[in-house]
Symmetry: C2
Subunit: 209 residues, 2 copies
DNA sequence: TTATAATTGTGAAAAATTTCACAAGATGAG
DNA sequence: CTCATCTTGTGAAATTTTTCACAATTATAA
């Protein structure tokens, strides 16, 4: 059965919310309350979960812990996944220092840059290596996920090298389309696109929202 | 007529691609070539545009310049829109120094932070003001779009203040849901969510892609 | 134990979105 | 001018996604 892309997207949102609920020591929650918390319809939440099995108890709701670990299992973020970042400019640096990824099951294991000045090891930061060692290190460490934070003009070449080195999933911040072989996934984050969406809803307020 | 959210999203992608085509001095392009460039079906591209009128010439295709300005008009990014950034931490700093927004019709006009050390004026950066002056400055400058780059725990309070000051659209980087009144739009960018999507496709390669 | 209330899981209906198929308009060669 | 070719715009069909409605299951109180 084909699972909608949007369902996977929402699963992430559910998981984030479950983390918060866990911190508040909630044990169980009904689809109704949970849905209103994340901002979807209860039936949608139940249908999203139903694609993957049964997670709740009729008459009671969902066990927060159990549901969280269920979604983690679905997403495949159960054991920590190593991530490489390519491009340690202003955005890459922000990502390197970000503590939020580890909570979600990702470890930034290493970063690469082509400029000599960026190379080295700072306390509490992942090691930054020269871009020339990229292929070898990624192979050696068995890294499957990479983040591209280089200028758009360099992004495709970097992607090609990453794929050749065994990377199977790329989070791309460069504002350009990446062409990759079948079997490799790309998610692109274009911040200007977010602003354009907002500009549009600003223009057509009332109609679109 | 209701326009799909995804259509607006794709319009941004089309526009980015048109910018590139313009730099390559292409004059016209058919929906077929254009679609293969951005990675959608030609009929989808034509349908997306058809929501807003007629932009092409039968037998010839689309005039690159004309289509670009058409999409700009649809999105409402024709005249530069001023944007405020709240939170000048590692991510906020990256956004402040980013030169890519102005090409898309946005100007980061001002930033705010609560820590005294962040306040001031650096060359080529927008002015950074204390958070206490946020409401007054946003009102004074008539800013309608803001970016939230503060910790998740502070995000809702910041959003409330922004809305009270007249902001109508928020790009939110904090990993939390923002509750805002009707008529205010929020786009959230959760980078961990991008990674989770990738982890999933890694797990279920072949099926989902 | 039995009745009542709560809440999930799910097939079917509804709504939204994408794709198709082709008429209509434009171009260019002869 | 005419014909063959190209390519858009669009109503209709197909597909996908969301929502509904309710049977099934569990909890709880009497
Ligand atoms: N900074 C932002 O806020 C922001 C926002 C949206 C999008 N982006 C995009 O993210 C990307 C990075 O942005 P940035 O502001 O950090 O740019 P930047 O110029 O500050 O950093 C780019 C880094 O990549 C390195 N680099 C260049 N080519 C490389 C290669 N082939 N291999 C390894 N390293 C290489 C450079 O040495 C530099 O350190 C760009 O594509 C940009 O458009 C940035
Ligand atoms: N850094 C990243 O790569 C990254 C990635 C994904 C998400 N995020 C999210 O983006 C947000 C910012 O991340 P960061 O790494 O830049 O954090 P940071 O701690 O480096 O910066 C936060 C800044 O916000 C300021 N601040 C706090 N409360 C404020 C308030 N009420 N008003 C004004 N300013 C206030 C702080 O003084 C600080 O300068 C966080 O919510 C984080 O989860 C960051």
């Amino acid at each position: 059965m084909r699972i909608p892309r949007t369902t996977i997207h929402r699963l992430s949102i559910y998981l984030r919310c479950l983390h918060d609920l866990r911190e508040e020591k909630s044990e169980t929650i009904s689809s109704e309350k949970f849905a209103s918390l994340v901002g979807v319809k209860p039936t949608q939440l139940r249908k999203d979960l139903a694609y993957f099995g049964q997670f709740g108890t009729r008459g009671r709701g969902y066990d927060v812990d159990k549901l969280a670990s269920g979604i983690v299992r679905i997403l495949g973020t159960g054991k920590i996944r190593k991530v490489a970042i390519v491009g340690v400019g202003s955005l890459g640096s922000a990502l390197l220092s970000y503590r939020g990824f580890s909570k979600r099951g990702f470890e930034v294991a290493v970063a690469f840059d082509m400029k000599a000045g960026k190379i080295g090891r700072r306390s509490r930061w992942p090691e930054i290596l020269p871009a020339t060692r990229m292929a070898a290190e990624i192979k050696k460490r068995g890294i499957k996920i990479a983040v591209i934070a280089v200028p758009a003009t360099a992004a495709q070449k970097v992607a090609d090298k990453l794929v050749a080195a065994g990377v199977r999933a790329i989070l791309n911040f460069a504002p350009t389309r990446l062409f990759v072989p079948r079997g490799v996934s790309v998610e692109s984050v274009d911040l200007a696109m977010g602003l354009e969406g907002l500009a549009y809803s600003l223009k057509s307020r009332g109609r679109s929202q």
